[in-house]
C-alpha cells in the first residue's frame, strides 16, 4: 500500500470507524450503509485536512469509493 493509500485509509477509518482494513480498500457508497451525504461531506473535510487540498463540488463524483478518491488525489498531485 502506497503512502497516499495509507493516508486515505486513515481518513476512511476516521469517518467510518467500524470498517476493518480490508473493507476500507473495497469501500464504496454502495457497500457501506452509513455512507450518506453527510458522511461524504465529512470525508471530504477530513481528506482536505489530511492532504492540504481543496476538493470542489464538481469533484464530489469521485468521493464515492476508496479507489476513486485515490485517483482524484493522484490527479491533484500530478497537476500540482
Amino acid at each position: 500500500m502506497s503512502n497516499q493509500e495509507e493516508r486515505i485509509r486513515k481518513c476512511f477509518s476516521t469517518v467510518f470507524p467500524n470498517l476493518i482494513a480490508d473493507e476500507i480498500q473495497r469501500a464504496s457508497v454502495t457497500s457501506i450503509a452509513t455512507w450518506d451525504s453527510l458522511a461524504t461531506v465529512t470525508l471530504v473535510s477530513v481528506i482536505e485536512e489530511e492532504f492540504g487540498v481543496t476538493i470542489g463540488p464538481e469533484e464530489y463524483e469521485y468521493i464515492v469509493s476508496f479507489d476513486l478518491v485515490n485517483q482524484c488525489l493522484q490527479s491533484k498531485t500530478v497537476n500540482a
Partner: protein
C-alpha cells in the same frame, strides 16, 4: 483541534452506562462539523460523561430556540450569524445588497434581534445557555469602499451589541468574548464559502473548532484556581532587594519597570475578588519586611498571606503556604522569574500551575496577566470572597490552638469563641455560593461528586429534598457560607447525597453541630451517607470514622442517632436561625 481528531474523540465516548450530558445546539446554519467539535471539546472537559449534541432544523434559529426551551438538555449552545438577523446578510439568499434594501435590512435585523432576545430570555429560564454572536464578516452590502465603516454597517453592529448587552444581563446566559475569539481565530480564516454554498455550513474547520472550544468552556468551565504564590525579586518588583536595597527596587514607568506595577495591580484585583495571594522568596526576611512596608506598593501588604521568606528550597515555603491556606496544590498558581525555582517547585508539586515571569519581555508578561485572569476567572464575586483572607488568618489561630492543646484548654478556647451557626435552605442569593462550594471543595467532601448546574437544580427541586446552607460566625469574625448539605428525607431516615464544608471552617466542630441539629430537628433515627472515599477527602473519612460502628466500606453507611449523641464531643454553637424544613 483537527476534524479527524474531533471525530476520534467523539467516537471514543464512554460506555452507554456513563451519565449523559446533553447539549441543545440552536443555530440557523447547518451545524455539521461545529456539532462534532463542540462534542469533542466537551468530551475533553468531561470525559466521564456521555456527551450528546442535539440540533434543530436548518435556517430556523427562532424555532430552534423554542425547541431548546422545551428540551430537557443540560445546557444550550446558541450560535447566531448575520443571516439569522436577515437572510440577505448571508450568502445563500438573493434578496439584494443594493442601497435601496439597506434600510429594510436594518429594520428586519432589529426586529429579529428583539425576537431572539425574547426567546433567549425564555429558554434561559430552564437551561443555562452559551451564546456565540456572529463571527463572520458582513457580506459586501455597503456601496462605500470596504476600508470605510459605513453607517448602516455600524447600525447593524449597534443592533447586535444591544442584543448582546441585554442577553448578558440575563441570568443563565454567557456570551463568548469577541476579543478572545479575534485573538485565536483571525477573521480572514473563518468563512468557508464553498462549504456554505454546498452544505449551508459557513465555517472553516479551524474556526469551527475554536467556536466549539469556546462554547464548551462556557458550558462547562474549568474550576477557578484559589491561590497565587509569587516570587519577589524580578517578579513582584524589578531588582534584587538584597543587592540594591529597599529603595533600589522599582515598579515605575521611568525606571522601565512598569510591567511589575501592572503585575501588582492584577494581584491586587485578584485579591479583591477573593483570590489568596502569598509570597515565597529566597531573601533576608528583615529586608523583605521593609520592602513590603513601602507605601507605594500597589499590592497592599495586608492582601498578602502568608509571606514565607527564607534561604530554604522554594518548595518548602510553598508547602508552608499550602498548609496555611489549607488548599491543594492543584488549586494554586506559582509565579517566579527563575526557571530553576519553577522546576524545583513543579518537581515537588506536579499538579501546581508553575508560570514564568519574564521581566525583560513585556509582551510575554502582559500575556501572563491575561493568563492569570483566566486561571482565576469566576462568574460572580460573593460575600465570602471579601472575608476569605481574614477568616484564613483566624483559622490559623484556631488550628494552632487545636494542635497545641494538651490540657483541655482547647475546650475552653472553643467555648469562648462564641460560635454561631445560621442555617437556611439553598435558594435565591445563596444558590450560587452553594453551587460553588459543591464544585470546589475537596477535603471535607462526602464523595467528591461534582454537579453541573442542571444536576444541582434538579437535586434542589426534588420533592423530598432537604437542603442546608450553613454560615458561621465567631468572635474572630464571620467565615460566611461555608457548608452545604443535600439529602432526601424518607420518614425516619435522612439520606445525604452531597455534603461539603470549606477547609477554612475546620476544627470548629461545625460538622458535628450540623449533624446533631439534623437528628433533632428532622427527628430521624439514622442518617445514611452516600460516602465514597477519594484521594483528597481524608478529613471527611476521619469525621465519619468517629461515628459509625462498621468500617467505611460498609454500604449503606449509616450513622445511628443514639450512637452519635453518645459519642459526639461537647458543642458550644448557638443556632441563630433555622428555615430549612
Amino acid at each position: 483541534m483537527k476534524l479527524a481528531e474531533a471525530l476520534k474523540i467523539v467516537q471514543s465516548t464512554p460506555s452507554s452506562n456513563a451519565e449523559k450530558f446533553s447539549v441543545w445546539l440552536a443555530c440557523g446554519i447547518f451545524p455539521l462539523h461545529l456539532s462534532t467539535f463542540l462534542a469533542a471539546h466537551l468530551n475533553r472537559r468531561i470525559p466521564e460523561r456521555n456527551t450528546e449534541i442535539q440540533s434543530g432544523v436548518f435556517g430556523d434559529l427562532p424555532g430552534n430556540l423554542l425547541q431548546l426551551k422545551q428540551s430537557n438538555a443540560d445546557a444550550g449552545a446558541v450560535v447566531i450569524e448575520w443571516a439569522d438577523l436577515d437572510p440577505r446578510l448571508g450568502l445563500r439568499r438573493l434578496g439584494g445588497w443594493g442601497p435601496n434594501v439597506l434600510s429594510d435590512v436594518l429594520m428586519t435585523a432589529g426586529q429579529s434581534a428583539n425576537q431572539l432576545l425574547q426567546l433567549l430570555d425564555e429558554a434561559a429560564k430552564s437551561v443555562p445557555i452559551a451564546v456565540c454572536l456572529p463571527t463572520l464578516a458582513l457580506p459586501p452590502i455597503s456601496y462605500q469602499p470596504g476600508e470605510q465603516f459605513e453607517l448602516n454597517q455600524l447600525l447593524l453592529e449597534k443592533t447586535l451589541h444591544e442584543l448582546a448587552a441585554s442577553a448578558a444581563g440575563i441570568a443563565n446566559i454567557k456570551i463568548i468574548n469577541r476579543h478572545r475569539l479575534d485573538a485565536v481565530s483571525p477573521s480572514s480564516g473563518r468563512l468557508d464559502v464553498k462549504s456554505e454554498l454546498s452544505t449551508g455550513f459557513p465555517y472553516t474547520t479551524v474556526h469551527a473548532s475554536i467556536v466549539g472550544e469556546l462554547l464548551a468552556s462556557l458550558i462547562y468551565p474549568s474550576p477557578p484556581k484559589k491561590g497565587l504564590i509569587t516570587d519577589l525579586d524580578d517578579t513582584l518588583w524589578r531588582g534584587l532587594v538584597g543587592e540594591q536595597g529597599v529603595d533600589g527596587i522599582s515598579w515605575e514607568l521611568d525606571q522601565r519597570s512598569h510591567i511589575h506595577a501592572l503585575y501588582q495591580q492584577l494581584l491586587r484585583a485578584l485579591s479583591d475578588s477573593g483570590v489568596l495571594v502569598a509570597v515565597a522568596s529566597k531573601n533576608d526576611p528583615a529586608l523583605v519586611a521593609e520592602a513590603l512596608a513601602r507605601s507605594d506598593l500597589i499590592l497592599p501588604r495586608d492582601s498578602i498571606f502568608p509571606v514565607e521568606v527564607s534561604w530554604n528550597p522554594k518548595s518548602e515555603s510553598v508547602g508552608k503556604i499550602l498548609k496555611a491556606w489549607n488548599i491543594g496544590a492543584d488549586a494554586t498558581v506559582f509565579v517566579d522569574d527563575s526557571p530553576l525555582e519553577l522546576a524545583e517547585v513543579e518537581n515537588i508539586y506536579p499538579e501546581m500551575e508553575c508560570l514564568r515571569f519574564l521581566p525583560d519581555n513585556e509582551q510575554a508578561t502582559y500575556a501572563l496577566l491575561h493568563n492569570l485572569r483566566d486561571f482565576f476567572g469566576k462568574q460572580e464575586i460573593v460575600a465570602e470572597d471579601a472575608i476569605r483572607l481574614a477568616s484564613l488568618r483566624s483559622s490559623g489561630v484556631v488550628q494552632s490552638e487545636a494542635e497545641r492543646d494538651t490540657s483541655g484548654s482547647f475546650e475552653t478556647f472553643l467555648e469562648q469563641l462564641n460560635p454561631e451557626l445560621t442555617l437556611s435552605t439553598i435558594s435565591g442569593a445563596g444558590e450560587s455560593r452553594a453551587f460553588e462550594l459543591v464544585n470546589k471543595t475537596n477535603q471535607f467532601n462526602l464523595n467528591g461528586r461534582r454537579l453541573d448546574i442542571a444536576q444541582f437544580r434538579s437535586a434542589l427541586n426534588r420533592r423530598d429534598t432537604v437542603s442546608l446552607l450553613v454560615s458561621y460566625n465567631d468572635k474572630f469574625g464571620p467565615l460566611g457560607k461555608i457548608a452545604v448539605l443535600l439529602g432526601r428525607l424518607d420518614s425516619t431516615v435522612l439520606t445525604i447525597d452531597t455534603r461539603v464544608m470549606s477547609c477554612r471552617a475546620f476544627s470548629r466542630r461545625i460538622e458535628h453541630k450540623c449533624l446533631e441539629h439534623l437528628f433533632e430537628s428532622l427527628d430521624v433515627s439514622k442518617i445514611e451517607m452516600d460516602f465514597q472515599p477519594t484521594q483528597r477527602n481524608g478529613p471527611m473519612q476521619d469525621f465519619l470514622s468517629q461515628f459509625i460502628n462498621t468500617d467505611l466500606t460498609a454500604r449503606p453507611l449509616i450513622i445511628d442517632r443514639q450512637h452519635f449523641m453518645n459519642t459526639k464531643p461537647d458543642l458550644y454553637h448557638k443556632i441563630n436561625e433555622v428555615s430549612y424544613v
